[in-house]
Symmetry: C2
Subunit: 249 residues, 2 copies
């Protein structure tokens, strides 16, 4: 049994040099019909399609979501969804908030709980889910047409991520295991949408003592190779609880 009036939607964030991205799911009309209320008659479905032009265009996209099973914890279900969409486990996952406006889904009443996930680019090679026709990363500035209020959910997810990243060391989940200082800086710049001073940024990082020098360097770059760092899990756990005692801004 599923709870017809409750769904979960996951905003999956990724990061690379071209910026911050979200992973979206292209749905065709058939998939949409599966999302829409099972009690709807063909006539009602026809009306829904007519009233909502986005549903008639050939290509549109959605977050990864689904109705909550009656016999599964909410947070568990969010993890399950993420696993089905990406094949990944142990991903950083946070609740954004709950979206419950009457008109957010046409015709039927569905309250959705939004989550966001941060994906390490080492794992970009995602398994293709059986549930989804096609997966694609979109730059946050170039989102395609999205169904329902999914654009709003992404906007809220980004606001939440911004808050989070300033006070807790979570941004690191978007980086590969070993990364350069320039990569972190660029991550913060993209998320906070703000240029920062390299020397001052590095001083702040150094004070945190969160990073350890892996001893390795970049390979095959057409310039001086940067050192690769990892983060210190003990310090990470401490900072996750205490918060960063300074703001990165």
């Amino acid at each position: 049994m599923i709870l017809n009036s409750v769904s979960v939607d996951c905003v999956i964030f990724g990061f690379d040099k071209s910026g911050l991205k979200v992973l979206l799911n292209q749905i065709d009309q058939e998939a949409l019909r599966r999302i829409l209320p099972r009690q709807a008659s063909p006539e009602q479905i026809k009306q829904i399609f007519e009233k909502h032009p986005v549903l008639n265009s050939d290509i549109y996209w959605s977050l990864f979501g689904g109705h909550v099973p009656e016999e599964q914890d909410l947070d568990e279900f969010a993890k399950t969804l993420l696993y089905e969409a990406t094949g990944l486990e142990n991903v950083y996952l946070q609740q954004i908030g709950t979206f419950g406006s009457l008109s957010r889904v046409p015709y039927t009443r569905v309250i959705t709980i939004g989550y966001y996930a941060l994906i390490n680019p080492d794992y970009y090679k995602l398994k293709q889910s059986t549930l989804t026709r096609s997966l694609q990363w979109f730059n946050l500035n170039e989102l395609p047409r999205l169904c329902f209020d999914h654009e709003e959910i992404i906007r809220q997810a980004l606001l939440k991520l911004r808050q989070e990243v300033m006070y807790r060391p979570v941004g690191f989940h978007l980086l590969p295991e070993k990364f350069t200082l320039t990569e972190i800086q660029s991550l913060y710049e993209v998320i906070l949408n703000k240029k920062m001073d390299t020397r001052n940024f590095r001083k702040k990082l150094a004070k945190m003592k969160l990073l350890i020098d892996s001893g390795q360097k970049q390979q095959n770059v057409a310039h001086r190779a940067a050192k690769l760092y990892q983060f210190d899990i003990q310090v990470y756990e401490k900072l996750k609880i205490e918060g960063l005692n300074f703001r990165i801004e």
Copy 2:
């Protein structure tokens, strides 16, 4: 029609010199029966009571909550609940998060969206709701027995309030229209559970330019009367968006 599997619960915070409080609702077993699933048989209800000893004690308490009507926006419904419980409108109300563990309510599956409200003590004279047998303010350190996971919801509400109060000027909603600097300081001390230095605290406040001197003073106090301040709504709106550019800590 209501959504059987979705409820809202409101944590109502108040503040006076004795500290931070929550408004709770005493429920008797009859009221509880109304909360429990309508589809439950008398035999099942008997089992629920046996398994959950708290339900058998004469006195226990709950947050203000209810199942979401199918035809009402979630946020609207939270406001309605608050109005029914307190008679107040235009109260500061924020979503805390959604609680969806399988076992949070015995026997039936209910996901609840938590909200917290900040009440100005000028309005403590609450109208008695028809729905509630009795209302009472409880100090946060002396909470009574609470049903379901309501204690956890209150704990989360407090954490959220702490976050909020450090970076946004929302704490003021807990104060009367005109208040003294000592009252604000004591508000921050109670919420953050931390003593602060009066001179340094006042310097920070002054820098914000959020307060305006009302020209009035306390009356009938057995010591030097303190100035009463109000807050400047224009500056408040600005700070609510930008955040406090410093942390009160």
